[in-house]
């Protein structure tokens, strides 16, 4: 049981980082990013490729984070002067383009076969201890990200991006450029997604393009909506709840009789969907609501 819980805790950390990035973009700044998985994939592949080439894992993770950060820049330039719904479309397409590139550029990514044997850190330890050490590493990264987010949101910068979320023209009328701010939060959120991707790659040890479907983006959205957009605690509670639902619904098998495995898989998704609908109906502000939203 313990190894299973450690795995879940690590995944909560990875989704937590992903959701914190989305929270900065959507929760604070109001950017509708439907392509978050693109930066997750860039982080995962960059870090995997660099460490597979024999360089240190830490270097790979740093490079993955930085590359995801940089990849958001041209995207921001392209569409941040457009309306919010265009950003949603462009980011969604961007994530699918990234996935297609991962499939087709076989010389680099091995295409659909994916990259096996990605080095894991702490490999000198036993399996159980290595996982615990990895959990500590993820938790540390999470803590740093939380402190960073806290600093950002309780600063004049945080005040200004929340102002952007409320009214861009009014922000311009007080002499600040909303496009610059949106590019910055898009890039910072992408960096967190990149870091999450790197952690993911080195944990699961094997990545392929079909692990980077838009579904991942929407998992992060589900976590953010359930937890409560616009709060740090909400993002973390949300990703914990997401993993609890995703993993917990596996155990439905034991209590729901007379359904086949295939039916069970569909039933699981139906339960998740129903849960989300109920959430939107009865708790649209999420479990940990942003108190300024009323």
């Amino acid at each position: 049981m313990l190894p299973y819980l450690v795995t879940i805790a690590i995944m909560i950390g990875i989704y937590g980082l992903l959701t914190l990035g989305l929270n900065l973009q959507y929760g604070y700044t109001g950017l509708i990013n439907f392509g978050h998985v693109a930066f997750f994939a860039i982080g995962a592949y960059t870090s995997a490729l660099i460490s597979l080439a024999g360089y240190p894992i830490a270097l790979g993770m740093a490079a993955g984070t930085v590359l995801a950060f940089l990849a958001a820049y041209p995207l921001g330039l392209l569409c941040l002067r457009l309306r919010a719904d265009y950003l949603a479309i462009v980011t969604l397409s961007f994530s699918e383009i990234i996935r297609t590139v991962l499939i087709s550029e076989e010389w680099l990514t091995e295409g659909t076969q994916g990259l096996p044997g990605i080095p894991k850190p702490f490999s000198s330890l036993s399996q159980g201890n290595a996982d615990l050490a990895y959990l500590a590493l993820v938790a540390t990264a999470m803590l740093v990200a939380i402190l960073l987010m806290w600093r950002l949101s309780h600063s004049p910068f945080g005040r200004l991006i929340r102002a952007v979320r409320d009214d861009e023209d009014a922000v311009r009328a007080v002499g600040k450029d909303p496009a610059q701010l949106k590019i910055k939060t898009l890039m910072l959120g992408a960096a967190l997604a990149g870091l999450a991707g790197a952690f993911y790659a080195h944990y699961v040890g094997y990545i392929s393009p079909d692990q980077f479907l838009p579904l991942v983006t929407f998992y992060a959205w589900i976590a953010l909506i359930m937890g409560g957009a616009g709060t740090i605690t909400g993002a973390i509670v949300g990703s914990s709840l997401l993993l609890f639902i995703l993993e917990g619904s596996r155990f439905l098998r034991d209590v729901v009789p007379f359904v086949s495995e295939v039916q069970m898989a569909s039933l699981r998704l139906a339960v998740i969907g129903l849960g989300l609908v109920l959430f939107m109906l009865y708790r649209p502000q999420g479990l940990i609501p942003d108190r300024s939203q009323s």
Partner: protein, 253 residues
Amino acid sequence: MTLELRNISKRLGGMLVLDGLSFSAGLDELTGIIGPNGAGKSTLFAVISGFQGGDTGSTRFDGETLDGLRPEQRVGKGLARTFQVPRPFTHLTVRENLAVGAQDQAGEKLVDLFVRPWRVRAQDKAIFERADATIDFLGLGPVAHKPAGQISGGQRKLLELGRALMSEPRYILLDEPFAGVNPVLIEQISERIVEAKARGVGFLIVEHDLSALSRLVSRLLVMDRGRLIADGAPGQVLDDRTVQEAYMGGVVS
């Protein structure tokens, strides 16, 4: 020291909304603009503040051209504006709304935020002191810590003025400061405008409330169909026959 408009034209959907408009207004004065609905007053503000580009003409602010500058850059030159329908940041408190108005904040830059936190803290403290002074000045004390989405229409008008003042402008384009505001509050807003003027801030004010406006400003411009049809002291302008005809529309005559 003037705001100078030369030959400003603007066509919107086939309609000539501004038709070769030219005037110049002193930056240390209170100037009013009136005109019937559709005269082009709001479009004029949008063009001066840079939210819309003019088709022809040029705008100069204290001798410097504003042409090609984005709205936020014009604020940097000292030219602020308010909106006809107030646009507060609804999820920020009144106090935070005012703080956002302050210019050149180190804490809004990511590098300074992490490299020079002490400077950010000191500056933000000074900004909030100024915000609190503005709250006292405008009588917004009771709602200072409320989200701006929850305050009354009149208070929003005051906040709109306050946020513009926080950018320490030399000149403010004030779009209908009295619309939907009760008479007591109109008096209060007028007094604040006069006091701000005494501190060296000039105003160009679009307003429908003629009596309140003419008591406030020293010069009144009258627009009709994208042109200026009168310009002078309020008493003299309001007696003008052309103005009465344009302004009253078909009602008189």
